[in-house]
């Protein structure tokens, strides 16, 4: 694997007043990936991003961005980073066009109206370019913040809850923008409370809780490792107990005996050996042989949300 684009080592942050928001964080972000940082309110997501971007002083530890220490070589480090903050903040009386161009200048880049135009168009803000920010809706303001971050062509983009307050249609559009950015080689780190967002977007997922990174994993591996699948058979007649003929299958009764639940490992279903799928066929045959009639069946795979809730609860 190539050199990580961001390397956070042994990072601690204790706020004035003694609250320790980050505890000994070690984290590598790989070049070109979409990394989702998940965690409950107050876990330390924003604090971690703020330290990396230079908004908050670390208590100790080191952050290296593309080979540059973010304290020593802050110009090099910061010029690679675009940040979309969690809170909506705006110079209310500026126009969209001016504020986005201001950001580009602030990051030391010469004016490039063509680039700004492309950014605004990709975020469906072009029609609003001459509007003052105060006249925009909340979702539009958030997109302006994204446009500001993209104005200076960052190699790394931090999105702190980018889709909070953005409607479903636009959220899809923003995901598309993020994917396009990734395709163009931009590394993306996003925090979100919408697990579906992480599930849909991320290559890797990190979970942070109480200032500690509790897990960093490939999304697919994570789903495989922790994801179990359930097959539920809705029976015609409720049962008191699992029939002895089916004892070999480790079944549970649910819904007052009218549902028969079979839990299995999703990663092995449809696997090369197809063990699980053959088990399911056998189970269904035996259910029929036992004289049980079912009117419906469905399967359910545990989502990232279940995994996440489990993880955070455990600690």
């Amino acid at each position: 694997m190539s050199e990580p684009i961001i390397r956070v080592s042994a990072l601690n942050k204790t706020y004035e007043g003694g609250f320790q928001a980050l505890k000994q964080i070690d984290l590598d972000i790989q070049r070109g990936e979409i990394f989702a940082l998940l965690g409950p309110n107050g876990a330390g997501k924003t604090t971690l991003i703020s330290v990396i971007c230079g908004l908050v002083n670390a208590t100790d530890g080191q952050v290296v961005v593309d080979g540059f220490d973010n304290q020593v070589d802050y110009r090099e480090a910061r010029s690679r980073i675009g940040l979309v903050p969690q809170e909506l903040t705006n110079e209310a009386f500026e126009t969209v066009w001016n504020t986005v161009n201001f950001s580009r200048g602030l990051f030391g880049k010469p004016p490039d109206p063509g680039h700004i135009e492309r950014v605004l168009k990709s975020l469906t803000l072009w029609d609003k370019r001459n509007n003052r920010l105060i006249t925009l809706s909340g979702g539009m303001k958030r997109r302006v913040l994204i446009a500001k971050a993209l104005s200076h062509e960052p190699r790394i983009l931090f999105l702190d809850e980018p889709t909070a307050g953005v409607d479903v249609g636009l959220r899809r559009e923003m995901w598309d923008v993020v994917r396009q950015l990734r395709e163009s080689g931009v590394t993306i780190i996003l925090t979100t409370h919408y697990i579906e967002e992480a599930e849909e977007m991320a290559d890797r997922i990190g979970v942070i809780n109480n200032g500690e990174i509790v897990l960093v994993e490939d999304k697919a591996a994570l789903m495989r490792k922790l994801g179990s699948k359930q097959l539920a058979l809705h029976l015609h007649e409720p049962l008191d107990s699992v029939p002895p003929a089916l004892a070999a299958y480790d079944l549970q009764l649910a819904a007052n005996g009218s549902e028969l639940i079979y839990t299995y490992d999703a990663s092995r279903a449809g696997g090369a050996e197809g063990q699980e799928s053959s088990t399911i066929s056998a189970l269904l045959a035996d259910v029929e042989a036992a004289g049980l009639v079912f009117k419906d069946l469905h399967t359910r795979q545990s989502s990232l949300e279940d995994i996440f809730v489990d993880l955070v609860k455990e600690r």
Partner: protein, 253 residues
């Protein structure tokens, strides 16, 4: 030094002035005119000449200084306070720019405004009293240096203030009294000896005195003392600002 960020900040700050033109330019001009009407015409006609200068003309440098100091402080403090207040300061702190570039952008814009304002007030004064400027280059030098120094002070106040009340506090409680008591409207010769001595501790006296000297060639204190005082002020402000940025005081938690 990268000039794009400096330019971006500078232009954004000036465009803020354009949006609030009435407040930024017109109101100080009106209040200065009122001073002239009251002190220059109404009361001044009953006051004898000071150092051979008519009272109306005598107060011109003091008035310009009064406006210059208060406007520099309030412009520069608001310029940096507002992004802190609205949260948009995150962009400033995450940008690949040095403290010096930030300060040049903000303080440069505030000082520019003050200098323009000072010149507008000077022109306004010309309508009320005949003006003569003995040392125009010194006059400009005092104007610019004072504008920069007090814009730096304003910048510090803007970072220190955590509410609008504090933003008003220093100009109201410190700058205005010191300017009034620093000989804007009188020569310290007119005070009893004891109060003359006290006034010598007022730093603003040195600014006004030097500035008045550039107009009429008369001063309360020596030119060298005036220049030294303004440079001292400048140095203290610069030292404070570099400390602020080194420690992240009130900017970075």
């Amino acid at each position: 030094m990268n000039l794009y960020p400096v330019r971006a900040i500078y232009m954004a700050e000036l465009s803020r002035t354009r949006r609030t033109l009435l407040q930024s330019i017109v109101s100080p001009v009106i209040s200065t005119s009122l001073y002239f009407v009251v002190f220059g015409a109404a009361i001044g006609s009953r006051i004898s000449e000071i150092d051979g200068i008519s009272y109306g003309a005598f107060i011109v440098p003091g008035l310009i200084m009064l406006m210059l100091l208060t406007q520099s402080v309030s412009n520069a403090s608001f310029g940096i306070f507002f992004p802190k207040f609205s949260g948009s300061v995150y962009e400033l702190l995450s940008a690949p720019i040095s403290y010096l570039e930030i300060v040049i952008g903000y303080v440069g814009a505030a000082a520019t405004k003050s200098v323009v304002l000072g010149l507008i007030i000077l022109a306004t004064a010309g309508f009320f009293v005949p003006l003569e400027i003995a040392h125009p280059l010194w006059m400009m030098a005092f104007l610019v240096l004072t504008a920069i120094t007090f814009s730096l002070l304003g910048f510090i106040i803007g970072i220190w203030a955590d509410g609008f009340d504090k933003l008003q506090l220093v100009p109201l409680l410190v700058i205005t009294p010191l300017t009034f008591l620093g000989g804007s409207f009188y020569s310290i010769d007119m005070l009893p000896p004891f109060w003359q001595g006290v006034t010598l501790f007022n730093p603003v006296l040195y600014l006004i005195s030097g500035f008045r000297w550039s107009f009429y060639g008369v001063s309360d204190v020596s030119l060298a003392a005036s220049v030294a005082m303004i440079l001292l002020f400048l140095g203290v402000c610069l030292a404070l600002i570099s400390w602020i940025f080194r420690t992240g005081y009130r900017l970075k938690p």
